[in-house]
């Protein structure tokens, strides 16, 4: 595929941004902007898919005379870039389709429309870039545009703070990446990725680069403890943008990590995988526990992004460990698992955010404690959301299970690793992964059960209506993709083969040749899974049993009030709420991790005052890591504050003193 196709798409998106700037307030701007975004994404996605199908051989690179005059802007699309272009544009396209309907309810379209195409373009550019300068520029541009989208509704409580924290964390991340790429480029300034790839890097540089990339790409992806901005910023944006932030932009961050660590840095020692695995396991576990404590539907989903990024990084860490020990086939399996999860997560997380957006539109509520019973009012949207819930909970036969299954298979190959550190760490990581999968299922029982099932908890729900056609089309399309990727994972794995071949010099066995469309990670005697057969068996058994019972026994049915234990007309408030649903898990895990405490105030006998139950939760990351830093910065600012109110003589003497000091340093150094 010639690379200009993507560059034209990017150009078209930028142009749309400019047009939107002028026409955002007009009624037809929404259709125009999202329509063009949809078209551009479809073109870019098809091109990326065509390149992947053609075996992913790199298209000839292009150097445009943009940016720094002696560097230019390099663009290149290899198998890795093609895969991520496919993920970005699939997510972008479906989000645009959703926004065609969802955007109708936008209060401030002039704050969203100009930035939305630019955001899509920036994410494409990050993946297309083939030199450090354009990579960093696109990365920072992506951060800034997404920041503008995050504070689109800046008057709502908490959104301004979310935007502020996001801006700080994004700048910090770019700074870390700048240093990492600077170290890689070296003093001679080989800015093109080709030159960096060819160069040799010492162990110290490799270690520094790895740490910096973990900070830079990790903060954008949401690795603990750099995730704090994510659950604030992602829910603050309009829902289709939330889907892009969670489903797609975090994947661009994963792309940055893979590009730098697997591709540019070359071989790394096994210790690098220890760091990645430990961080990833902590991210996975904390992410899902935080999510369980949330009552805000969108924030719950954002915390699940943190969890899923952890799962992806577990796969990447395993791939690093296997690669460092020359186990190419195992490394390919682990990397395939991670990339498959990248694809899967972009599908079901977008779907879930679309669902949350549909609920928000229909009821005006994000707080699950005020929802309930929506399955009756929004049957199709709730069905699509249910598919997303099953997929993200890693339950067969949907796609989330396949990538977790592959990760487990990779973990089971790791006793062959020679290093003791890894031998002890990896089973623990496996246990954390299994625990998180079970907790995620618990969390989505809560999310779906409280939001869509039961009886309405507030009047807002009783007037809710089904989502519009465009939103439903986007959601059902993603739901179908979740099912397809779950029952036919073989083709996806085969598409990833050239990619793993290039990055870890190995690939999984070709899945196209296995019987009955099963997938085989290593060899058939070791393990195999056939999503299609499992799906067919379950469907057949369910239909068979339904048919047998209805035909041979009884199909009589009577509607009656639910069993009320003799207390008639129980209020909907007596239902289990999100907080009460999570209470057992909060008691088991939360007391350790969050220092959760419950305070019950019972009124004295005879008093008509209500009893009060208060739950106290502490965010360990924020309180232990961020609060001290913020405290120090504030204290220093307080101290230095009086510098603002000096006389001109004092300022002049300060300037003079500084000059003398600098000259002195210079004299001593040279």
């Amino acid at each position: 595929m010639p690379i200009v196709i993507w560059l034209w798409c990017v150009a078209a998106l930028f142009l749309t941004s400019l047009v939107a700037l002028a026409t955002a307030r007009s009624a037809s701007a929404r259709v125009l902007v999202y329509g063009i975004c949809l078209a551009a994404s479809v073109v870019a996605f098809s091109a990326a898919l065509a390149q992947l199908l053609a075996g992913g051989s790199p298209a000839p690179a292009i150097v445009l005379p943009l940016g720094l005059p002696w560097v230019g802007a390099h663009f290149r699309v290899d198998a890795l870039a093609a895969f991520f272009l496919a993920v970005v544009n699939l997510g972008g396209g479906v989000a645009s389709l959703y926004a065609l309907g969802y955007g109708r309810h936008e209060q401030a379209p002039h704050r969203v429309l100009p930035f939305y195409p630019a955001f899509l373009a920036a994410m494409n550019l990050v993946v297309l870039a083939d030199d450090t300068y354009s990579f960093l520029l696109s990365w920072e541009f992506m951060s800034l545009v997404s920041w503008a989208l995050v504070i689109a509704h800046h008057r709502e409580a908490g959104n301004a703070r979310a935007g502020y924290i996001y801006l700080i964390m994004a700048s910090f991340g770019t700074l870390a990446l700048l240093l990492a790429l600077g170290l890689l480029a070296g003093a001679d300034g080989g800015y093109a990725f080709g030159a960096i790839r060819a160069g040799h890097h010492s162990t110290l540089v490799a270690a520094l680069v790895l740490v910096l990339v973990l900070l830079g790409a990790g903060s954008k992806a949401g690795l603990t403890p750099l995730h704090v901005w994510l659950p604030l910023a992602h829910p603050a944006a309009p829902s289709h943008v939330s889907a892009l932030l969670s489903g797609v932009m975090t994947k661009v961050a994963v792309y940055g990590f893979i590009r730098i660590v697997f591709d540019l840095l070359g071989a790394t020692g096994w210790w690098s995988s220890m760091a990645v695995l430990a961080l990833a396991a902590a991210t996975t576990f904390l992410g899902v526990l935080y999510a369980l404590m949330q009552h805000d539907l969108k924030r719950l989903l954002a915390y699940h992004t943190v969890e899923n990024i952890g799962i992806i990084f577990i796969g990447l860490g395993l791939a690093l460990a296997f690669r460092a020990n020359g186990m190419a086939a195992a490394a390919a399996l682990a990397l395939t698992a991670a990339l498959f999860h990248v694809f899967n997560h972009s599908l079901f997380k977008s779907l879930l955010f679309f669902g949350a957006g549909a609920v928000l539109n229909a009821t005006g509520e994000r707080d699950m404690e005020r929802l309930g019973g929506l399955i009756h009012r929004m049957p199709l949207a709730s069905f699509a959301f249910l598919v997303g819930c099953v997929a993200i909970s890693a339950l067969p036969p949907l796609n989330g299970f396949v990538s977790e299954w592959l990760t487990f298979q990779a973990i089971l190959l790791s006793p062959a690793l020679p290093q003791w550190g890894l031998k002890i760490l990896i089973p623990a990581v496996g246990a954390v992964l299994a625990l998180s999968a079970a907790l995620a299922a618990a969390c989505f029982v809560k999310a779906f059960g409280v939001t869509f099932l039961g009886r309405p908890r507030s009047p807002a729900v009783t007037t809710a209506r089904e989502a519009d056609r465009f939103s439903l089309a986007a959601m059902l399309f993603l739901a179908v993709l979740c099912l397809l990727a779950g029952i036919l994972p073989g083709p996806v794995i085969d598409l990833l083969a050239p990619l793993t071949q290039a990055l870890v010099q190995g690939h999984m066995p070709a899945q196209a040749s296995t019987s009955w469309l099963a997938i085989v990670p290593v060899s058939e005697s070791r393990s195999s899974y056939d999503g299609l057969l499992v799906f067919v068996f379950i469907t057949l058994s369910a239909l068979l049993s339904a048919y047998a019972i209805h035909r041979l026994a009884s199909r009589a049915l009577r509607r009656a009030p639910a069993w009320d234990c003799g207390y008639p007309d129980a209020s909907p408030l007596t239902q289990y709420s999100a907080a009460s649903f999570a209470q057992p898990i909060r008691r088991v895990f939360g007391t350790v991790v969050f220092g959760a405490r419950e305070k019950v105030e019972m009124p004295p006998p005879g008093s008509s005052a209500p009893a009060v139950l208060q739950v106290e939760l502490h965010d360990p990351v924020w309180e232990r890591l961020y609060a001290p830093v913020i405290g120090t910065v504030n204290a220093a600012a307080e101290r230095l504050n009086h510098l603002q109110f000096l006389t001109i003589r004092r300022y002049l003497s300060l300037v003079f003193l500084a000059l003398v000091l600098l000259l002195l340093v210079l004299a001593l150094w040279l």
Partner: protein, 318 residues
């Protein structure tokens, strides 16, 4: 011909597990009753219960959605498929490769996911309390199960259950510390997953002590019949699982002679009966735990499983 034969064996196995499951429940109930010096109902009583329920009309709560009505069929299908993948008297079944032990665990998790959702569908506090406690128990039992799977997979070099079962029959197994730990963990997980005493009480309808029964409180008629049958299938599944891994004697490959298969089937029946009696003895001898003691009980299983997996990771012979 061979294909037809294999199909027949697979089909037979699916029917066998379905037909045997209520008998196992009946046996456990009977033995428990005898231990309490009651006469107890006939072993065949669960069949009669299911037949009676199937013929009755369904009384559906006014607020119940399509999910509530679809769930019994879904969980029955998922559990039946999972049960059909566990070798009972013959290994290497036709479709055993389509899902390994991890997938079987996940299939049961799918069933639980939908049952917990159904518990929340009507919007009473009983369904909620059951669902909430069920997922709390599952959040510990599932990772423990996964650690057991890790241990077995690392010993047998495969996650395919039939390969593991075949390996367990070979003389290469021997006595291993990790296997012992895995057995204890698996028994704990099986007790918790099947809502048996001391984790849950299948015979109670006292709201503060029930988990599984609270979840399915709103079900009636054919729906309830399917749910009862599913619970019985799940019990049979776990007993078969423990039997084919830790008591592998008598399990034959599908191409074995008819006589060998008959002997294997008989051995399987003996194992089932033995496990049923053991379960009844255990349940009679122990008291039910408070709900918040359960995490400690299951945490022990998780730690044992992790320890077993860790032993396998650091040493090939333990």
């Amino acid at each position: 011909m061979a294909l037809i034969h294999e199909f027949a064996v697979q089909g037979l196995q699916m029917l066998v597990v379905l037909l045997l499951a209520p008998a196992l429940v009946g046996l456990v109930r009977k033995v428990k009753a005898r231990l309490l010096r009651r006469r107890g109902a006939d072993i065949l009583q669960p069949y009669r219960d299911i037949l009676r329920l199937v013929r009755k009309e369904v009384v559906l709560a006014e607020n119940a959605s399509w999910l509530f009505r679809a769930t019994p069929y879904l969980i029955f299908a998922a559990t039946w498929v999972a049960a059909a993948l566990v070798p009972t008297f013959a290994t290497n079944l036709m479709f055993s490769w389509s899902a390994d032990l991890i997938a079987i665990t996940a299939l049961l998790a799918s069933a639980r996911f939908f049952l917990a959702l159904a518990g929340m569908d009507v919007g009473t506090s009983f369904g909620g309390i059951g669902a909430s406690r069920e997922v709390m128990i599952a959040s510990l039992a599932e990772p423990a199960m996964m650690m057991i799977v890790f241990t077995l997979a690392l010993i047998a070099g495969s996650t395919q259950l039939s390969t593991i079962a075949a390996f367990m029959q070979s003389p290469m197994v021997g006595l291993r510390v990790s296997l012992g730990l895995a057995l204890v963990a698996l028994v704990i997980v099986a007790i918790a997953e099947n809502a048996r005493i001391p984790v849950d009480n299948p015979a109670t309808h006292l709201e503060l002590t029930m988990v599984h029964e609270a979840m399915v409180l709103e079900y009636s008629g054919r729906h309830l019949a399917l749910i009862e049958l599913t619970a019985a299938l799940k019990l049979l599944l776990y007993v078969s699982l423990i039997a084919c891994i830790f008591l592998p004697w008598g399990v034959v490959p599908p191409d074995a002679s008819m006589a060998a298969q008959l002997v294997a089937a008989f051995a399987y029946l003996v194992k089932l009966a033995l496990s049923g009696v053991c379960l009844a003895l255990f349940e009679t001898a122990i008291a039910k735990m408070r709900v918040f003691r359960v995490p400690e009980f299951l945490g022990a299983a998780l730690m044992l499983g992790l320890l077993a997996a860790l032993l396998r990771f650091v040493s090939g012979s333990l």
